[in-house]
């Protein structure tokens, strides 16, 4: 029996029971549910700072806050505050409420608003648009209008090295690039300077970030704060076609996604999984210097989620399975037309009925006004 194993715990997430290993976080348990059943993907809490491949990330953006309605089977009390699901470990018998708890949704709406008050709302001119996590997050959880009337915080753009540009104005201080530099590269020359809403990612003395894996900070950045200078403003991401490719690279694994326009490779990035996380970080040579199709062995089109704008107009309709929800909806709403009324042809009767109907309509609108 699996339940008798001490290292497997059972939790309930939004009413769905799932068994995971002890030590798993709530976020990972939720992702497990979505991986098993793709229709539940909307249940997974959003993550703006958490990045599984990087150790120590998470807990900062507060986008993934959830309610723990029951701490564990032993201690059935609820946790007093909302907890960040990305770093909170599951306990056996834990009951978690995410989309089923209005307080969670309210707090999340608040986080969207906080992240956006100092973020320029100029997606149409931002290079990240179309693959921006903040854009998705705001679209899914935010309010349509802002209540912020004050001036927004702005910074100058900085070139950090020959390949990367930093635009702090867009940064949401997720610290991912700091962890990347710490854990992926052999030296970190940038960090967070100052504090509060004046905090900024900086190299302090305008130093160039220069090492073989520095380009990965572009991939981990959830917004358009760190961008690839070899790609900037060349194209919108949804006009390009992503294909998986690999090459024999002496430095990294060499497995990448090429973003093509026709035959031309206009950008190279690492491959991301369903959660937007890079599994195998790539070196700068692959990323910035290998921009010819002949440099690569093409594997085939990258799988792009249907909901992503990147998939727009890329795939032939006859190859894509049609969503059946529309048909289901239509059949459930279908009603035969009620045609039992007598068919009138006499012009006088028609006129008379028309006057009566008019009166009825006037009467209804009068009633509505008075109420």
């Amino acid at each position: 029996m699996e339940d008798t194993k001490p290292n497997v715990v059972k939790i309930t997430f939004d009413g769905i029971e799932v068994e995971v290993e002890a030590g798993t976080t709530i976020m990972q348990a939720a992702r497990r549910i979505a991986e098993a059943d793709g229709t539940q993907a909307h249940l997974v809490p959003p993550a703006m700072c958490y990045y599984k491949p990087l150790e120590g990330t998470g807990g900062k953006c507060r986008a993934c806050l959830v309610k723990v309605a029951q701490g564990s089977a032993k201690d059935t009390r609820p946790m007093p505050k909302l907890v960040p699901s990305c770093i909170t470990q599951v306990q056996d018998g834990m009951v978690v409420e995410n989309t089923t708890n209005p307080a969670v949704l309210e707090a999340r709406k608040g986080v969207v608003e906080f992240l956006l008050i100092n973020h320029p709302l100029d997606c149409p001119i931002c290079d990240q648009a179309g693959e921006c996590h903040l854009q998705d997050f705001a679209f899914e959880h935010g309010a349509a209008q802002t209540r912020y009337e004050e001036e927004r915080r702005t910074f100058e753009k900085h070139d950090i090295g020959p390949y990367i540009q930093l635009h702090m104005t867009r940064c949401i201080l997720c610290y991912r690039c700091v962890y990347t530099a710490d854990q992926i590269t052999n030296q970190r020359v940038h960090g967070v300077l100052n504090r509060g809403d004046a905090a900024e990612i900086s190299t302090y003395i305008e130093k160039a970030i220069d090492n073989d894996f520095s380009g990965n900070v572009i991939d981990v950045c959830p917004v358009g704060a760190l961008t690839d200078k070899t790609y900037r403003f060349k194209n919108r991401v949804w006009f390009t076609k992503p294909v998986d490719a690999h090459r024999d690279c002496p430095t990294c694994k060499g497995e990448v996604t090429l973003w093509c326009r026709g035959e031309e490779v206009i950008r190279v990035t690492a491959r991301k999984n369903q959660w937007g996380e890079v599994q195998d970080f790539i070196c700068n040579t692959c990323r910035f210097d290998q921009k010819k199709t002949s440099d690569w062995v093409i594997e085939g089109p990258t799988k792009v989620q249907r909901s992503s704008v990147i998939s727009a107009n890329k795939y032939r309709a006859d190859l894509v399975k049609k969503p059946d929800f529309a048909l289901k909806l239509a059949s459930s709403q279908y009603k035969a037309i009620d045609d039992s009324r007598p068919y009138v042809t006499d012009p006088d009767t028609i006129r008379q009925q028309s006057v009566e109907n008019n009166d009825k309509a006037n009467h209804r609108s009068l009633l509505a006004e008075n109420n």
Partner: protein, 446 residues
Amino acid sequence: MTKKILLEHAGVSGIETFDVYRKQGGYTAVEKALKTMTPDEVVEEAKKSGVRGRGGAGFPMGMKWGFLAKPEGVPRYLVCNADESEPGTFKDHYLMKTIPHLLVEGMIVASYALGAHKSFIYVRGELLYVIAILEKAIEEAKAQGFLGKNILGTGYDLELVVQPGGGAYICGEETALLESLEGKRGNPRNKPPFPAVKGLYQSPTVVNNVESIANMPWIINNGGEAYAAIGIGRSTGTKLISASGHIKKPGVYEIELGLSVDEFLNSDEYCGGIRNGHHLKALVAGGSSVPILPAHLITKTATGENRLMSYESLSDGGFATGTMLGSGGFIVFDETACIVRNTWNFARFYHHESCGQCSPCREGTGWMEKVLHRIEHGHGSMHDIDLLVDVAKKIEGNTICPLGDAAAWPVASAIRHFRDEFEWHITHPKEATQPGAVYMGDSILV
């Protein structure tokens, strides 16, 4: 006269030197604890005393010590939080500069109880002269054999290190303090793990306030039960209160917990009442982060009982009609104080001191400050008040550390109790922006 535990010898001339302090019965607790008691017995006395954390949260110190993990082969640390930076609180500053040896003695006893061989006093960076005083006291204690290797021949070693902070309010939060002590950026850590399991250098650590630790010598000398007999209910012992604002006698007072707020505020022994010709308008009872109280809820609770200076009585009625004892920063406002301006001032402080790590606090504190600035300067609109309430609600409880709560509570409570004053600022921008103008219900004070 109330029982004095901490400031009993504060008036003795030369008390900051080892000899005078020793003559007044100093360091007897170290002798008693190290020579006649086991560490667990010391912890037991702390538990019996019921002394609660004096830094603001009020968590029982003995219980906190009991949570300390004790894995084999891993060092344990005691860290004293002397990063007192809460607006309106200055008791630790006074205690350290007046009787530095009391803290040093407390640190030795507490370190012995926890099995720490290296302990730290993290002092607020601005208090450079206090750091010098503490370091001198430590030198003296070392010269007399109360610190260093083999203390008093008992085989117990202890090194005491004074570390200046960099001047950030956030480093008073215990995990930010530990980060700062490790030489990193002072960002609070996510909890769990709590410091009792993984604290300084990933080792089990206890972080205590100066005043909490300074109680230890008395507790050892007189027993935990004697300490628990002082005070009222679960608020045992005495408490240092930093009284400031529009009172006749501002200063640091040691009171027995359970003293009535009325007596503390009005008797000549303590604050001496509101300054001449003025009357009470509002009170912040425990440092800037606790909810503000209007005049009618200060000496009496909402149910009509006398309000006492104790953890329980001050929080009677929850945040609707109560507040918190907090760190004991007792700020009194008379009718010349403008609540809107004061709330803006507090919000400005928290905006400036937010570390910027988690989004609700980083963005929310700045937002609240800007809206309050607008209202104070006559550019507010009515929906700004509800906006402030909503922003405060979305910060509160959703942040990594309590700074978010501390920023949200003063704003939310000021609007709760003084909403008419905010509305007046919005409807009468011309009058409100005159220098010194204060709304007084039916009239304006200019």
